[in-house]
């Protein structure tokens, strides 16, 4: 020790050393704390401006809500809603437009765009109620099935689904008086099979109905990220391909998840057709993946509207995740960007959501910004794709590398008084009209070959490698 070391210098050195030791110890100490108290901490934790709530931000009257038939949406009954003559006319218009645009080489509809759209829609496994059912079970392997607490089970399932490609995972427990009503009464066309819950040991996809055991009352809700950069080429064929790619990935994850549960020794039940089994955005809201919005679809804190979601049921007990509030429904009151940029004016321009549905394609019982689904689908025919302009123009449709996005989202969540200012700033930077033109140049997408895999940033939302 130097002879001329003063007390001041000694204390300063102690302080710096102590601070360094604290920082180094904080990591392992935190990890030990996570294990020691027995409560698995969600990794990653949600942003601080996302609040868990007991009731979702969309008002629901469970007494009015009934189990809906999937085929009653415009996916199954469009011809009935718009009439056979208009249906034939719009289908022909779509076919003629696509042929014409491909021949002309219209940006977003060129032969390479069409080819990639065809490619991303292929490769998905078929739909089976319980999945492929090919992997071994614990019984086959001579071991006991997996057992764990609901909290630990939720953590295990989350980790597994994330590794399979899911972006966010949540859980809902079915309740006869509430969340059970979000399960479809009948599957999509053409099967239209009734979905029934019975006291049976195992469920089955029977000839004229789908039977699910009452024990399979935990719903797993997960979403898969879409490429915002690609969807900003909506409503062209190029823009729409990220939707198709995401669905292909989602159905693949679903199929693999079925096998995961089978290998664990537990049952799982999923849709028997695309968009089947239950109302995905509704379950996603109840599970806390996001909030319902003016688009009448899900907006998430991590990815905005750039997700597609699905569900499956299991008898493995899972700790439910709660709905969240991060200011979306409030922001939607002032924003209206999706509605004002919709080329077919199908989205609601009312300031407040309503209990009144716009047509039989929507299920009553919740207060939402109901849309005119028929005029929306008419525009799909006109542009030749599933459009997506509302998604592309949403102010929440941003990545999260720039701190500006977090600042704005946190402000909207905690100080909604600034929402009109945020909206005006967004309009100033991105003035947009309902002209049906893509926000970004489709041709430029092909030459920006430095996009990440699937066009998405899998570290978005606070993920770590």
């Amino acid at each position: 020790m130097p002879e001329n070391l003063t007390r001041r210098e000694f204390m300063r050195a102690l302080g710096i050393a102590g601070a360094g030791v604290s920082l180094v110890a904080a990591g392992p100490a935190t990890a030990l704390a996570e294990v020691a108290d027995g409560k698995p901490v969600e990794t990653p934790p949600r942003f601080w401006w996302v609040r868990e709530v007991d009731k979702p931000t969309v008002d629901v009257d469970w007494k009015v809500m009934k189990r809906f038939n999937e085929w009653e949406s415009t996916r199954g009954s469009l011809r009935q809603y718009r009439g056979a003559e208009l249906d034939d006319k719009m289908n022909k218009l779509q076919k003629d437009n696509l042929t014409k645009w491909e021949q002309e080489g219209k940006p977003g509809y060129t032969i390479k765009d069409m080819a990639l759209k065809d490619a991303v829609g292929s490769g998905a496994p078929g739909f089976k109620l319980r999945g492929p059912q090919q992997v071994t079970t614990p019984k086959d392997r001579g071991v006991a099935r997996y057992e764990g607490s609901p909290e630990l089970n939720a953590r295990i399932v989350t980790a597994a689904l994330r590794h399979l490609g899911a972006a966010k995972v949540g859980f809902v427990e079915l309740d006869e008086d509430t969340t059970m009503k979000l399960i479809y009464a009948q599957e999509p066309s053409p099967s239209k099979k009734p979905i029934v819950f019975e006291d049976v040991a195992e469920g089955a996809d029977e000839k004229d109905r789908i039977v699910i055991p009452k024990a399979a009352r935990w719903v797993i809700v997960f979403n898969v990220q879409m490429s915002g950069e690609t969807l900003k080429r909506a409503p062209t064929m190029l823009g729409s391909l990220t939707t198709s790619l995401t669905y292909t990935r989602m159905w693949t994850i679903l199929s693999q998840a079925h096998e995961f549960f089978r290998s664990l020794g537990w049952q799982s039940y999923g849709p028997t057709a695309g968009n089947g089994l239950g109302i995905y955005p509704a379950f996603a809201v109840m599970a806390g993946l996001g909030e319902l919005s003016r688009q009448n679809r899900l907006i998430t804190p991590e990815y905005g509207p750039m997700v597609r979601e699905t569900i499956m049921l299991t008898d493995l007990p899972l700790a439910p995740t709660k709905p969240i509030d991060f200011g979306v429904m409030n922001f939607c009151r002032d924003c209206m960007t999706c509605a004002t940029t919709c080329p077919s004016q199908s989205l609601s321009l009312d300031r407040e959501p309503s209990w009144e549905v716009k047509g039989p394609w929507s299920n009553p019982g919740h207060r939402a910004y109901f849309e005119n689904s028929v005029s929306c689908r008419n525009y799909w025919n006109e542009c030749g794709t599933n459009c997506g302009i509302c998604f592309a123009n949403c102010p929440y449709a941003q990545e999260d590398q720039a701190s500006l996005h977090t600042i704005l989202k946190a402000t909207a969540s905690t100080m909604p008084v600034f929402n009109p200012i945020i909206k005006r700033a967004s309009d100033f930077v991105y003035p947009s009209e309902a002209d049906g033109n893509p926000i970004k140049d489709p041709e430029e997408w092909w030459y920006n070959t430095n996009l990440p895999d699937y066009g998405i940033n899998t570290l978005q939302g606070g993920r770590k490698l």
């Binding site: 990545e399 590398q401 701190s403 500006l404 930077v429």
Partner: protein, 102 residues
């Protein structure tokens, strides 16, 4: 790398100001510290957002963020010198009034 250089630059400026003020060759009032921190914060926000938005392929928003954060940074930095300068002129005027000949 950018953040390493920015951190180095910020550290050097801070070290210089602290060393000069400790040796008595520079007087830094509390409001100048505050404005300096605010200006520094806005500079960091401007740089972070500009670079990140460019990598997000949003050049328009990148330019907007440069203005949105850069202008307050410049204003805050200017006030660091402006406030004492204006205060100094005010003291001088008061001094002249005191010695005005009868």
């Amino acid at each position: 790398m950018v953040w390493f250089i920015l951190g180095l630059a910020a550290g050097l400026v801070l070290a210089y100001v602290i060393a000069r003020s400790l040796s008595g060759r520079l007087t830094v009032h509390w409001y100048q510290w505050l404005l300096g921190v605010i200006a520094g914060g806005f500079v960091l926000l401007a740089v972070q957002n500009y670079l990140a938005l460019q990598s997000e392929l949003e050049p328009k928003l990148a330019t907007f963020s440069l203005l949105a954060f850069g202008v307050p940074a410049v204003v805050a930095a200017a006030l660091v010198w402006l406030i004492p300068a204006l205060a100094g002129r005010g003291h001088k005027k008061m001094g002249e009034a005191k010695v005005r000949p009868a």
